[in-house]
């Protein structure tokens, strides 16, 4: 068990085994995404109040969930990197940030597009769910900016890890904002079972599909990050020399 993790944390080993996982995640994720989206957009019945407009949920909920998932992965990797000094962990945190920022942006954009006809507004300042989600987008921007502002990689890893950990406080705030305060944004639907199965199943399939696609993208980014960080290591030089030696 432990040897598996120790081996996994070794950059060359990770670099070698990652492609197999990327392939599986990408294929399974795209298939589930296609199946879930088809079912959600065409097969699921429309909502009694929102009619067809509710179908944006099949993108909004998976992206919103992954925006928080990516932050959690980033913060936990940052903590592991700080405590155990595992180089791969910092690479994971660095690779997760832009993906998380994109998912946050998509969640905000799809929510805004839905909010205009349903709520009657694109954006409401002061709504705790909307505001805390926007704060997370800025935390991602801050993390990415801080990282690129420091040339020394070890220092950049440490400084950005602290920022990621401080910002992690926002994650439970986003999740519970609709319960702790009055808000325009509605409460939990999926976990609270407020949706019939024929509408819920495509959503669950899409959540799983998006997660697998995210996993594939993350592993791919970590792999590139590892290659860059280890560019002076012998295994990378041998890899490059081997590739050059090929006809």
């Amino acid at each position: 068990m432990w040897t598996f993790f120790h081996k996994l944390a070794s950059p060359p080993h990770f670099y070698r085994i990652a492609p197999a996982f990327i392939r599986i995640f990408a294929v399974a994720g795209l298939l589930l995404f296609a199946y879930g989206s088809w079912n959600g957009l065409f097969e699921a019945p429309m909502d009694y109040q929102q009619k067809d407009a509710f179908r944006i949920i099949y993108v909004h909920v998976p992206t919103a969930y992954l925006s928080m998932m990516a932050y959690s992965i980033m913060a936990i990797s940052a903590a592991i990197g700080l405590i155990w000094r595992i180089k791969l962990a910092h690479a994971v945190a660095a690779a997760a940030a832009p993906l998380g920022a994109w998912f946050t942006f998509l969640a905000l954009a799809t929510g805004s597009i839905w909010g205009r006809p349903m709520w009657g507004t694109w954006w409401e300042w002061g709504d705790p769910r909307l505001t805390s989600q926007l704060l997370m987008l800025f935390l991602y921007f801050g993390y990415i900016a801080l990282r690129s502002a420091i040339d020394d990689l070890a220092k950049a890893d440490k400084a950005s890890a602290v920022l990621a950990l401080v910002g992690a406080v926002n994650i439970p705030i986003i999740h519970y904002s609709v319960y702790w305060w009055t808000s325009l944004h509605q409460g939990q639907t999926v976990m609270a079972g407020k949706m019939p199965p024929e509408m819920l199943n495509p959503l669950l399939i899409n959540i799983l599909g998006f997660t697998l696609i995210f996993g594939a993208l993350l592993l791919h980014r970590v792999r590139s990050e590892v290659l860059y960080r280890e560019r002076r290591a012998r295994w990378v030089l041998e890899l490059v020399a081997g590739a050059k030696a090929l006809p």
Binding site: Y48, Q49, P117, G120, V169, W180, T182, K194
Partner: protein, 155 residues
Amino acid sequence: MKPRQQRMLAVGLAVAGVAIAAALTLRAFQDNMMFYVEISEVSKGNAPDDRNFRVGGLVLEDSVKRKRGELELEFTLTDLKSELVVAYSGVLPDLFREGQGVIAHGRLGDDGRFMADTILAKHDENYMPPEVAETLAKHAAAKAAEAAKNGGTSP
């Protein structure tokens, strides 16, 4: 203590410290973090009378009064405990209807009515197909009729 354990402790304490600071800050701003004021708070006099605020509740059934050919309308907001009359002039969001949750932004008038400049519809967390909603409404109506009949015959 090993250096690794020291680092673990430092990270743990830092995260706990930030969490406590955030919790205290949010507690201090509790009232300002509320997106809207509930109607029972307004009727208790716990709403600002000198500035704009938002109030949220359900549109009372059969309370929407419109003047023909004008955008002006009046309706009653309720939280099933207290009620508040809201006056508004403008375009309403799609989801605005009787029995639906809405949020009104504006201020309390001298006559006790709430003068709204914006109305937002609040969607709840329930999703269902139209047929299911129809069946539910039919059942609810049948139950209400049953209750009315029983209420009529009993002393």
